[in-house]
Assembly symmetry: C2
Homo-oligomer: 215 residues x 2
């Protein structure tokens, strides 16, 4: 078969401009109000008709992926920078803190981090990249004896998910509370004082939260 992405001729100039207006508006509204804002609001905020919005991004998911792809890149970066930190625990910590800061700064991203969104090929690649970086981070820490040896990358999801909830609840009233939550959670990842875990880790690749039919 031919390369999966067909040449896909470039957008007309005005369409390209509108696309960027829409992405900007979505980025902003997602960050402020979460990823469930009314589509019409996004269009209006971009100064464009809803028809155009649906034209460029047929589904809300398309829009979400386009908006948050760069966050994934940022995460890959974070993993890289964390590996550059000499002290294995510090590296591990800096990675998690970095990711959680992204969550705390952007309500939309916080929501995306909780569900397991983003299935485009681009997203998959970035995720894979992050995965190898973080795996290395974990094994390095385990070898150094600072990180418990029985945790897998999938266990980090528990931290992300948990922080996402704390951010969600405390964002308005105690915007730094998540740092305490994170510190407590991280102490649970230390080799020092680790006790056996009662349950096997999640399967590699994480959990796909099944069709998101709300009811």
């Amino acid at each position: 078969m031919a390369p999966s992405t067909e040449p896909t001729r470039p957008l007309r100039s005005d369409a390209q401009r509108n696309r960027e207006l829409l992405l900007g508006a979505a980025r902003e509204l997602f960050a402020e109000r979460g990823i469930d804002v009314a589509m019409a609001d996004i269009a209006r905020h971009a100064g464009v008709s809803n028809g155009t919005l649906y034209n460029r991004f047929p589904t809300r998911t398309d829009l979400i992926e386009a908006v948050f792809l760069d966050r994934l890149e940022r995460i890959v970066d974070l993993a890289g920078q964390a590996l550059a930190v000499a002290d294995p625990w510090q590296g591990f910590a800096s990675y998690l803190i970095g990711v959680c800061e992204l969550q705390a700064d952007d309500r939309g991203f916080n929501e995306v981090a909780a569900r397991n969104l983003a299935d485009s090929p681009a997203a998959r690649n970035l995720r894979a990249a992050a995965l190898t970086g973080v795996t290395e981070l974990l094994t390095r820490g385990a070898r150094a004896g600072v990180l418990r040896a029985d945790v897998t990358v999938e266990d980090l999801a528990f931290v992300i998910w948990g922080i996402s909830r704390t951010v969600e609840i405390t964002a308005g009233t105690a915007p730094r509370a998540w740092r305490r939550h994170l510190a407590l959670a991280m102490d649970g990842f230390r080799a020092e004082g680790a006790h056996p875990l009662p349950e096997p880790p999640l399967p590699p690749g994480g959990v796909h939260p099944a069709p998101p039919k709300e009811n």
Copy 2:
């Protein structure tokens, strides 16, 4: 002023029966589909008109409180039973496991545990009771040197909140995953290997998530 709760004459017999039908239906649907089920569904499921539902429970919150009050009682019980366990760490663990089991078994309750719902006087009382029990649980553990001394009751909310997210995401695919998450989180509460926390605890009384205006 007179005692805040007026004598409030008893319901007529049919009304009382309908009230119980409604509570039963709500309990069931909340547990299965979460606390956002359509009001009309609850009424229909109870075999009653929506008018009657609104008559008995003017707001969804009224219904939620009525449905979940007994869960709060259960939590007070759990705290008591936990204190009866000789080993302080085991007691602490049994309490948290008990609460999280409630969350895992009831989608609605899991959602309620995440937000900080329930403000009726009855709920307040029960919460206060649970609070003192759990506080005792914590100080006992700290005195025994098994629980870190720098945690407060409010820190337990981080665990509950976090588990609530994990349950939410993994309920369909890995229904026991939360036990692993909880074990990791609890290891972060051990005195053994505790590192100083970067942020003060949440204010006593916890966080009131502000008006729940969705957007």
